[in-house]
């Protein structure tokens, strides 16, 4: 396989095409517009559906409809546009239809700006829209991961008949890096048996998010919760660097995690025992691995491009075993490696020594 120099937004678009995307609906917004722009010609060239909707509200409902009919459907947006989609996302989740939604996050709240941000963390991980559920949330830190996670997003969406959100930030969308694209999958010719594909000659399928009897709604909620429990058990993903003897564990995802890599690398050169865990799934959160590491480390530093939204998940995963500190930038500001390094040095200096250290804590 050969490497191509690709912009994140274009890479996601082409990866979706190669994953067999059959219908795309969207509305332009910086910093994800190249995704839509690319698909505008690419989908038509392949005789697949591309439609620029009149708004994000319309786009997500078109995705909902297309997904109900059993075709692979996707939309993409950035934070303000993603907010507009909340109702549709909840309906999708309540209808057991697989959909992929890309949020290339930008500075907020409100109209905010067009610079990279991770301020939608709560919005994507808690429940996109109302109701009691979590989407699966994937957070790429490179153009290669943007491609791989797009492929994975379609797989997971269909495996679980669930909503999958690719939560990238503006920097992942805008940067170019060499990356490998997967081979082309042709668009599926059959429809899943649950799909609304015309009931001529068979029993009709019903897809609805409405359950007027609370007993029925509760039963449906229990079904969602069983599915989520399964997802939580098997789909946690993260990568680690220098964690096997780390006293301080830095945790960061996406662009913040990637910049933290440079800072942690420098801290290691300076002789500090620092490691990095970069969550690749934000929901399910990689709590299992972080919980294991909590037995081995002395302290934790969360790094994000928001006010510290992931701290809650890290605190739950570490069950109060270690102090949790935070460094972040907001409003579209990107943390620089040297400022993360300063935060690492400060956190590292605050570790109380000597403490009985579990030296056998080798990475599993």
């Amino acid at each position: 396989m050969s490497r191509t120099l690709l912009k994140g937004n274009v890479a996601i678009a082409e990866a979706a095409v190669r994953a067999g995307l059959q219908a795309y609906f969207g509305y332009p917004i910086t910093p994800q517009t190249e995704l839509l722009e690319y698909l505008a010609s690419r989908m038509v060239e392949l005789d697949r559906v591309f439609l620029q909707a009149e708004s994000e509200v319309a786009a997500i409902n078109m995705v909902y409809g297309a997904a109900c009919s059993g075709v692979r459907a996707m939309t993409s947006s950035s934070s303000p546009g993603f907010s507009l989609m909340q109702e549709g996302l909840s309906y999708i989740a309540a209808s057991d239809v697989p959909c992929v939604v890309v949020d290339v996050m930008r500075g907020g709240p409100g109209l905010g700006n067009i610079q990279p941000s991770q301020a939608d963390y709560f919005q994507v991980t808690r429940s996109a829209g109302h109701g009691d559920y979590h989407p699966i949330v994937l957070a790429p830190a490179s153009v290669q991961e943007a491609i791989d996670f797009t492929t994975l997003a379609f797989e997971l969406a269909e495996r679980y008949r669930h909503l999958v959100i690719l939560a990238a930030d503006g920097q992942i969308g805008q940067m170019m890096e060499p990356a490998e694209l997967p081979p082309m999958q042709s668009a599926r010719e059959t429809r899943p048996e649950w799909a609304l594909s015309g009931a001529n000659g068979r029993k009709k399928n019903v897809i609805t998010s409405l359950h007027m009897q609370p007993e029925d709604e509760e039963a449906f909620n229990q079904k969602i919760q069983r599915r989520l429990a399964k997802i939580r058990q098997v789909e946690q993903r993260s990568v680690e660097y220098w964690t096997n003897d780390a006293e301080l564990l830095v945790i960061g995802y996406g662009t913040a995690g990637r910049i933290a890599y440079t800072a942690v690398e420098r801290a290691r050169e300076m002789g500090m025992k620092v490691g990095l865990l970069r969550p690749q799934t934000l929901w399910p959160f990689p709590e299992e691995r972080i919980s294991e590491l909590a037995d081995e480390i002395q302290s934790c530093l969360v790094v994000e491009m928001n006010a510290g939204q992931m701290i809650e998940d890290v605190r739950l995963a570490t069950s109060g075993q270690v102090p949790i500190e935070f460094f972040g930038r907001m409003g579209g500001m990107i943390p620089m490696p040297d400022e993360i390094l300063n935060a690492i040095e400060a956190s590292y200096a605050r570790i109380t020594r000597p403490v009985a250290h579990h030296a056998n804590g080798v990475r599993g």
Partner: protein, 184 residues
């Protein structure tokens, strides 16, 4: 070994494309590379920049506070970025359009009359490729051959007729003998 290139100038001067050419060439030479644009509300005539990190190992942060090499196309960018070049780094600038100077003695400053040279070749829009050539002479991280290849492959179709001139501009940049450490 990691090198961080900052390209900065007016929108329309080919700043982004110069950075992309370097990125393509670095990839073709088997190196790791990232290219990041400024993507604020820039427009033609406003300032724009991109950062290209080239390394022989996996790249962490694609953004840098202090680039090791700055290639500066216009006066406002010179004023903004000359103070940011990493100590012992290199500052290459378009002498034709830049009147500002720096008193920094901890960096190597190289003046190239790029727009003037490009004009002699027949088109001032060759300034970007010429400055890239000059940068690669100063910091030979990738073979010039790779940039030549990248130009042949990635020059947009609408500028195809300018390929021979672009190759000449690259050559002119590479072979330009710069007086080192220009004094103010």
């Amino acid at each position: 070994m990691q090198n961080e290139f900052l390209f900065a100038g007016f929108g329309g001067q080919g700043v982004m494309f110069a950075g992309q050419l370097l990125a393509y060439a670095a990839m073709d030479a088997g190196l790791e590379v990232t290219w990041i644009p400024s993507y604020g509300p820039e427009m033609r005539g406003g300032t724009a920049h991109c950062i290209v990190v080239v390394s022989d190992k996996a790249i962490g942060s694609p953004i840098v506070r202090q680039p090791t090499i700055a290639i500066i196309f216009n006066n406002p960018s010179f004023i903004k970025y000359a103070p940011q070049v990493k100590s012992e780094g290199i500052l290459i600038f378009n002498e034709t359009l830049i009147s500002a100077r720096t008193d920094r003695s901890d960096i190597t400053t190289l003046a190239v009359p790029a727009t003037q040279m490009a004009e002699k070749l027949g088109n001032t829009r060759l300034t970007n490729v010429l400055l890239l050539g000059a940068a690669l002479r100063a910091v030979p991280v990738i073979p010039v051959e790779a940039v030549r290849g990248a130009l042949e492959t990635h020059l947009p179709a609408r500028h195809r007729d300018l390929l021979p001139l672009n190759l000449q501009a690259l050559e002119a940049g590479v072979s330009y003998r710069m007086p080192t450490s220009v004094t103010p």
